[in-house]
């Protein structure tokens, strides 16, 4: 019988996070303040994040030790298993060897607690009593709630009111882990009260919930805020995934030709791929695929430039792959992958040619998710299905080329609370869309006069 999966022993849990900032061929350009044009320093984030996390945000150290208390609690679900997808290989009749790393085994069901745990710990040792955050359906909120409970911190989650009323299960998960869930808008903050004065029946929005969570942190010295995506320290914490994967691949006796992850805010993608990108920088032949929806091609078709976040050009400038601030993406139905700009670290690595962005249509993603579920058993989160679709493309390509390619996938989370999205696909409600080039050209003309990063590429 062939080996189907590899569980690393707990003694093999990585002891450090990997910081790719130390190895970037082109150092990351800092965000600029739109008024002064000067870089925004870490002090701008001090009101909401504890200093150890701000230090990690700007750190250039290649490896950062994982504190012992974090390691101890990672052991609740880590190391996560790596599987060989024999059934999928057989179904596709491909010579490719397919591996996937299962991050869906964490208690909340995704990779998100990898950073939630670290953030809870650094807040704890910095004297924080309470952490706030915002959530919609509750995936990030539930991860943070669990991790706060593990370190004895209070957790207050501003949950969009319509979600609070309609999605009781993740709210109950959060409350089971001891968090306080507040339907937003609430009367607890200025931001919430202003909304309620105008409309007492407001169903809320993610924007209002973020405003409340940040305000609660800024106005109480014992309270900080936590974010589960985009920022450098979040990516850093996720690299435990890729480091475990490297050890597991070695135990299988293989090394990937292709590593695939879905890229939204970038954290699960960065977690799996950054350690392999380090190998690539040091000469290894490995292709890194970042998968995004075909209808929102921020990575695949936009140039790299400084972009304002709004059309009045008041917000800070961030260098990122962008289609311009007046770009309106075409329709797509896909959870957490809808971003106007990719995380700056990932954008820079694309620009340096170390990551290949790939766009996949939504119908293809659900077809892939169904195929994966019917062969390997696991039902993927809708976002994860993007990576699964790219994996199947690569496996088919290997068949066409007659190559025994080794493909590694980050299976970032299960979709067991997302079955309504599958129902929409299975009932035929979803459709594909292609973004016309003329629409992209029109959007790009908006950013033509903006300042460009040094390595601006058309």
């Amino acid at each position: 019988m062939q080996v189907k999966k590899i569980f690393l022993p707990e003694s093999e849990l990585p002891r450090q996070w990997y910081n790719i900032a130390a190895d970037m061929p082109t150092p990351l350009e800092p965000p600029l303040h739109p008024g002064t044009g000067e870089p925004i320093g870490p002090d701008a984030l001090a009101p909401i994040f504890p200093m150890p996390l701000i230090e990690q945000e700007v750190s250039q150290e290649r490896f950062i030790d994982i504190p012992e208390p974090v390691l101890e609690k990672y052991l609740i679900w880590r190391p996560t298993p790596m599987y060989r997808a024999f059934n999928l290989e057989k179904h596709l009749d491909t010579p490719a060897k397919i591996y996937f790393k299962n991050e869906g085994v964490s208690p909340p069901g995704s990779h998100k607690p990898n950073t939630a745990l670290a953030q809870a710990y650094y807040n704890k040792i910095s004297g924080t009593k309470r952490i706030t955050t915002e959530t919609g359906a509750g995936q990030w909120g539930s991860a943070l709630s669990m991790c706060c409970s593990l370190f004895g911190l209070e957790c207050k989650v501003y949950m969009v009111k319509i979600s609070y009323q309609q999605k009781p299960y993740r709210r109950l998960m959060m409350e089971t882990w001891g968090a306080t869930c507040i339907p937003s808008p609430s009367s607890e903050t200025n931001a919430g009260r202003k909304i309620l004065e105008k409309n007492p029946d407001s169903p809320g929005s993610l924007g209002i919930a973020i405003s409340e969570a940040v305000e609660a942190a800024v106005t109480d010295e014992n309270t900080k805020y936590s974010l589960g995506s985009v920022l450098n320290h979040v990516m850093l914490h996720q690299t435990i995934v890729g480091q475990e994967a490297q050890k597991q691949m070695a135990l299988f006796g293989d090394y990937p030709d292709v590593v695939i992850g879905c890229a939204g805010g970038g954290s699960n993608f960065a977690g799996m791929t950054f350690p392999f990108i380090r190998d690539k920088i040091n000469g290894k032949q490995v292709e890194i695929l970042a998968v995004e929806p075909a209808s929102c091609p921020t990575m695949t078709r936009g140039p790299f430039a400084y972009d304002f976040g709004d059309t009045v050009q008041m917000t800070p400038l961030l260098p990122m792959y962008t289609l311009g601030h007046s770009f309106v993406p075409e329709p797509i139905h896909a959870g957490g992958l809808r971003y106007h700009g990719m995380a700056p670290l990932v954008s820079q690595l694309i620009l340096d040619g170390l990551i290949t962005p790939l766009a996949v249509h939504q119908l293809e993603t659900f077809e892939a998710g169904i195929t994966f579920a019917r062969t390997e058993g696991f039902i993927s989160a809708p976002e994860t299905d993007h990576a699964v679709a790219a994996l199947i493309r690569e496996a088919k390509k290997a068949k066409e080329e007659g190559k025994e390619k080794v493909i590694l996938l980050n299976w970032s989370g299960h979709g067991l609370v997302d079955m309504a999205a599958y129902e929409a696909y299975l009932s035929g409600k979803l459709k594909n869309h292609e973004l016309p080039q003329e629409e992209i050209d029109r959007a790009l003309s908006d950013i033509a006069p903006l300042p460009k990063p040094k390595q601006y590429k058309k």
Binding site: P31, L45, G136, S163, V214, E215, Y225, G309, T315, V328
Partner: protein, 93 residues
């Protein structure tokens, strides 16, 4: 030709921001009374949402809802910190 009238309340689709199913009436007012910037993206496959909103909204409202793009997360955070600090200072004086 698809219908220009929104589907009824029982017809729900998955909201990519919230991560669960919602009806059109929520999207129509999500942005402080204006439509969520993603409304056309999400609903155009279900009915003629752009035509409907162009009839429902003034040109100014339409542009405010759909031409202004959501800010990247880090910019949003910095804005919100400054806003909360200013309000805190105002309240203490």
């Amino acid at each position: 030709m698809k219908n220009i009238v929104p589907p009824n309340e029982r017809y729900e689709i998955r909201c990519p921001k919230l991560g669960h199913q919602i009806s059109f009436s929520y999207c129509r007012v999500e942005n402080q009374g204006l439509p969520c910037p993603k409304t056309i993206d999400c609903w155009h496959i279900h009915f003629r949402v752009r035509a409907y909103l162009k009839e429902e909204l003034t040109l100014e409202e339409f542009n405010k809802a759909f031409v202004f793009r959501p800010k990247p997360k880090m910019m949003t955070l910095i804005d919100l910190i400054e806003q909360a600090k200013t309000e805190k200072e105002d309240n203490s004086t």
